[in-house]
Each structure stands twice: as C-alpha cells, then as structure tokens.
C-alpha cells in the first residue's frame, strides 16, 4: 500500500533544491529522525543532480511516496526518472571515483551508502530510473 506520490519535475538546478526539500519534509512527516532526514535529503540531492548533469536537457522527475508492507514496516520511497542516454555499465558508476562527465564520481556510491535499498533500471537510449528506499526504524 502506498500513499499518493508527490512529484517534483527536474529542469535545472532549482529542481535539486526543491526535490531534496520535499524529501526532507515528507521524511519528517513520516517520523524519521533528523539524521535520517539528512541522509534522505542528501541522497535525493545526489540523484536529482545526476538528472541535471546527465539526462537529456537535464530533465526528469522525482517521485516521493510513503510505503508500508503487510505485517509492519514502513518507510520512504523515492523514484528518480529521466529519459536520458542511460547508463552503459551500472557496476562502473557504483564505483567511487568513476565519472563520465562533470561530476565527482561520488554521487551514486554515496546514495547507496545513505539509503537502505537502491535499484537501478537503465537502458542505453531509453533513460534511467533509480529507486531508493529508507525504512523507518
């Protein structure tokens, strides 16, 4: 079961700030503590910046929702999607220091360390969708 998605369109650097602020607000509403709010907002900032730097025309969107599972457990799920060039080698971008462009090569490795789960769905020429989740303890 999930609540309604909240969506932030990414179209420039302003979108990075808006997306991470919304992620923090939703995390706070869901009862995450300040350290988890920081982890989540920072991860969303990394993913949104990737869209600005690497997606076609820097466009994409960030969807934020609560998730709950039967038998207890809940958390926040963030889906960052673009219709950009896609990632040729996912293992490569998860290595610290690898970059194909202007970035530092730290964004995705950092995101994986800050969140509990990360899934990357990508295909060359079709775009990239990255889903991350953080469980509320």
């Amino acid at each position: 079961m999930t609540t309604a998605d909240q969506i932030v369109p990414i179209d420039g650097e302003e979108g990075i700030v808006s997306a991470r602020q919304l992620a923090r607000d939703v995390a706070r509403t869901l009862g995450f503590g300040t350290v988890d709010q920081s982890r989540i907002a920072t991860a969303v900032s990394e993913l949104a910046r990737n869209v600005v730097h690497y997606a076609t025309e820097g466009r994409g969107e960030v969807r934020i929702r609560q998730f709950t599972v039967d038998g207890g457990g809940a958390g926040i799920e963030v889906v960052v999607a673009d219709a950009g060039p896609g990632i040729a080698d996912v293992d490569e971008v998860l290595q610290r220091g690898f970059t194909s462009g202007a970035g530092l090569g730290m964004g995705l490795p950092a995101t994986r360390r800050l969140m509990d789960e990360m899934e990357i769905d990508t295909a060359l020429g079709r775009g990239t969708t990255i889903t991350v989740r953080k469980w509320r303890r």
Binding site: E13, E14, I16, V17, R20, Q21, R24, T34, V35, Q37, S38, R39, A41, T42, S45, E46, R49, R96, L104, M106, G107, P109, A110, R113, L114
Partner: protein, 119 residues
C-alpha cells in the same frame, strides 16, 4: 545572483551560507572569495554553515576546494557550525573534511583562526 555576502573583519573574510543555495551560487561564492583574498590580502576565511541542512557531495567538495584554494593564496579557512546530522551524513558518504579546519561554532572558529594567524 551573489546570494552569499562576504564580510571583511580585519584580516578575515566571513561568509554565511544558507540552505537552498544553487550549485551556481556556491561556485560564484568560491570565485568571489578567491578574488576577495587577492584584493584584500585576507589571511583567514570563516565559513558559517550552521543553517545549512543538507551538505551533499557537491557542496562538501566545494567547501574543501575553497579551503584548498584559499590556502594556496596564503589564507586559512575554518568551516563552522556543521549540524550533527550533517556531520554523520558526511562521514557515511566518505567526505571527512580531513584537509579542512572545522570548529563547533563561529566563536570557536574565530578563536581557531586567531591561533592560526598568530605570528
């Protein structure tokens, strides 16, 4: 732009970063700080980030770059006011600011700068 003012107090330049800065605005601050050091001969830089809620790899790297650039121009940089949650997040990301002077707050940062600038 120029959303981040730079104030000069004696030999020290002081800037307070706010939450919600755009990447371009941080890059502009870096450039303006370097220009200010050149023009004023400042020997210290105090960067207050106590109201910054999110320090991602971009901002973390920029703060380290500012400190490194200032050092090459003869100025020490102290970053002050890291929020506890920000500190935890930075360490988990592997950004530990090892080459950057840090202090708990502006007062302690000012005291640290005075020691660093002492003849």
């Amino acid at each position: 732009m120029a959303r981040v003012p730079i104030v000069r107090v004696g030999p020290v330049l002081i800037s307070t970063l706010l939450s919600g800065l755009l990447d371009q605005e941080v890059l502009q601050l870096q450039e303006e700080l370097m220009d200010s050091i050149e023009q004023s001969g400042a020997r210290g830089v105090l960067l207050d980030i106590s109201t910054v809620e999110t320090v991602d790899t971009f901002l973390g790297r920029l703060l380290a770059d500012i400190a490194a650039g200032a050092r090459l121009m003869g100025a020490h940089t102290v970053v002050v006011g890291l929020q506890p949650a920000v500190a935890v997040t930075l360490v988990e990301m592997g950004l530990e600011f090892k080459a950057v002077h840090v202090a708990l707050n502006a007062e302690k940062g000012w005291a640290l700068l005075r020691r660093l600038l002492a003849p």
